[in-house]
Symmetry: C2
Subunit: 401 residues, 2 copies
């Protein structure tokens, strides 16, 4: 039976391990510690750093495929592995677009994907010029390493921008700037693609963020107007196009902004790409025939993809996010019990992580029951209930009480 090496030890690797069990696969993990989220749940754990080329080579040896739960393995290690015949998926030529926001923006423009005006920022003058050209509608980004709102800045004044850019460039942070958009909502279009080119798309999802962190995903994304149906269709096709043109393998998430054009009609632009299972795809564990974790394993092994059909008219995923107050006294199992008592259909997924402010420690999926079609009212109620459940898991309080 196949052996898949996963480099990374977070919740994505943990949930790949869970999915691998039923496929009869061995998922081998490169983990930083035995207490890491995925290591707790995996039989075949290697300890070591993904920044150590010898370690990466060792854990990859004999694997039918090598894949990742993050984008941080140096690409030259991966190129070296590929040259030695190791089946690394996705490959660095695709991965670079999930690692470097400037490379990705340029590539998106090349393939005709909608992107905002952007510029490589290599000097304070670049930044000042972009400020003037956009009337101050500037979003400054670190080209690499940002996530969950980190590495993204919205300077209030031209002087703030220039001071910030001077500091960051002095620290050696490669930068880009793009024009701020009038955000209406965020969408996420996810597909899986095999090295042979088979592609399977999930329904497009609405993703709700606060402070740059996703806290809710609604699948499928409500599309109550003709204009919204059009942009959801466009997002669906775009994700497939991106996967094909970039040669992505495994799961791809295309994070999108829905904005309005000058005529007041919805339009979309690409925000980020992720080439691995993604937070906005967690709903597939309970809401789809094939979860993103199973699909990722099948895809990186170049095996046939599973049905992406939903099993419920709507599924809502709510993240369990550490907040800024202290971890409540009520132990987590008792909080889960309270949630299950109030919501017997709540599917709680925990990551084996300790509480920390703004840390994702789990998520809750809730679906409409069999035979119930989605309406504005019942989807709103589902969003509210999933949020109540995830909030309770953090605070031990019902936020509607």
């Amino acid at each position: 039976m196949p052996l898949v090496t996963v480099i990374g030890d977070g919740q994505l690797a943990r949930m790949m391990q869970q999915a691998g069990i039923e496929l009869g696969l061995t998922v081998r993990l490169l983990a930083g510690s035995t207490g890491a989220s995925a290591a707790q749940a995996t039989a075949d754990v290697w300890l070591g750093a993904y920044t150590d080329e010898g370690v990466v080579r060792g854990v990859a040896a004999g694997a039918d495929a090598v894949t990742f739960d993050h984008e941080h393995v140096p690409n030259d290690y991966l190129e070296a592995l590929i040259a030695e015949g190791v089946y690394v998926q996705p490959q660095p030529s695709a991965l670079i677009n999930a690692q470097d926001k400037l490379v990705m923006r340029r590539r998106m423009r090349e393939i005709g994907a909608p992107v905002p005006p952007f510029l490589a920022v290599e000097s304070v003058e670049d930044a000042a010029g972009f400020w003037d050209a956009t009337d101050g509608a500037v979003c400054l980004k670190a080209r690499r390493g940002g996530y969950d709102g980190k590495g993204v800045w919205f300077p209030a004044t031209r002087d703030d921008l220039c001071a910030l850019v001077a500091d960051l460039l002095a620290e050696g942070v490669p930068l880009m700037a793009e024009k701020k958009v009038r955000l209406v909502r965020e969408l996420s279009a996810m597909v899986a693609r095999t090295p042979s080119g088979e592609v399977a798309s999930w329904p497009v999802v609405e993703s709700v963020q606060a402070d740059g962190i996703c806290y809710l995903a609604v699948a499928p994304a409500p599309a109550e107007t003709e204009g919204r149906r059009r942009v959801v269709d466009q997002a669906y096709s775009l994700a497939r196009q991106v996967a094909d043109e970039l040669g992505v393998t495994g799961v791809l998430a295309v994070e999108l902004f829905e904005t309005v054009d000058e005529a007041g009609q919805p339009e979309i632009i690409v925000n980020e790409l992720a080439m691995r299972p993604h937070n906005t795809g967690h709903w597939t564990q309970d809401g789809c025939v094939t979860s993103q974790f199973e699909q990722h394993l099948r895809a990186v092994l170049d095996r046939p993809l599973g049905s992406t059909a939903p099993v419920s008219a709507t599924t809502v995923m709510a993240n369990v996010l550490g907040d800024d107050t202290a971890d409540p006294e009520m132990p987590m199992p008792r909080r889960m019990d309270e949630v299950w008592r109030r919501f017997p259909t709540a599917k709680i997924h925990l990551y084996g992580k300790d509480w920390r402010p703004r840390r994702k420690i789990g998520h809750v999926n809730m679906s409409l029951p069999l035979g119930v079609e989605a309406t504005a009212e019942n989807v709103d109620a589902l969003r509210r209930d999933a949020r109540l459940a995830s909030d309770f898991l953090v605070t031990a309080r019902w936020t509607d009480a």
Copy 2:
């Protein structure tokens, strides 16, 4: 977070481990070998024999609950653990009814559950008398240890019965006899019950057997006539009654025979009890909000139970059963690929077990799609497709080609 010790290393323990991951539980395993089905997929594995009291005590120490994937741990070990304050679920007082068919039959009769005429067989004379009383409609059973058709005999003549009984009693096998029934089909009614007395019931399932081994389960059991609806309702209520009266904790499967009475009306009788996740409940992994494996873990920890609502109008489970011909040359992953190509909705679950005749090495779940109601035709097609898929995984041939 809670620690659950599971004694046993087969596929049921493997699937409990899988379910435990998302609940944030640690599932600790007592396994016979590192290559055992569940041990392959578990981080916290203790090696040893469940027949060694010291080993059982060691692996139970510190657990929030101790449970099982089989019924073979000596009850006196369990009684000793309970006396020491260990939370063993289910308890021996309930378990005895899943271990000893004669004890179970007597208890069923006591609580008014339908059972066939039966007799303890302690001598050849007992057996001969029962033959005469039933006009030769005798099923002889070992009181303990039988499964998948083992430990059950249907002697053709009175002399065969007497010879068989003489041999078995000489070997020290405790026996009982019961009247053979006119089997129409088999049903399975499953519930979970917590030590606090909360009970949650899944829909009753039709279970299809060959040579004493289940190969198909259809959920819910088709009930196309008034009489069948009546017996399905009766089975549903009976499982709850059995769980309550016997004080079962965790998952209980009540295996039932559907027969016809003298007026030609369907009726049911109890065949066997199992007090753990059960083959006829594997469909819940893909067909229900809460799988039997998650529910068992929640139940033995005395935590609130999850919704048992189906997510599809019908789900069919087909076992992947080693047949009598050789393991085909095509490797299992290629067989899976062929099945996925033909049936993208097929959910394949493998146990990490080598092929052996009549051995259960996996199962396939297939469900009706969202929005499709069950009809005689589409349920038949689903049965056929699930069977084709599971047969292909065994033989590498399409049995309809």
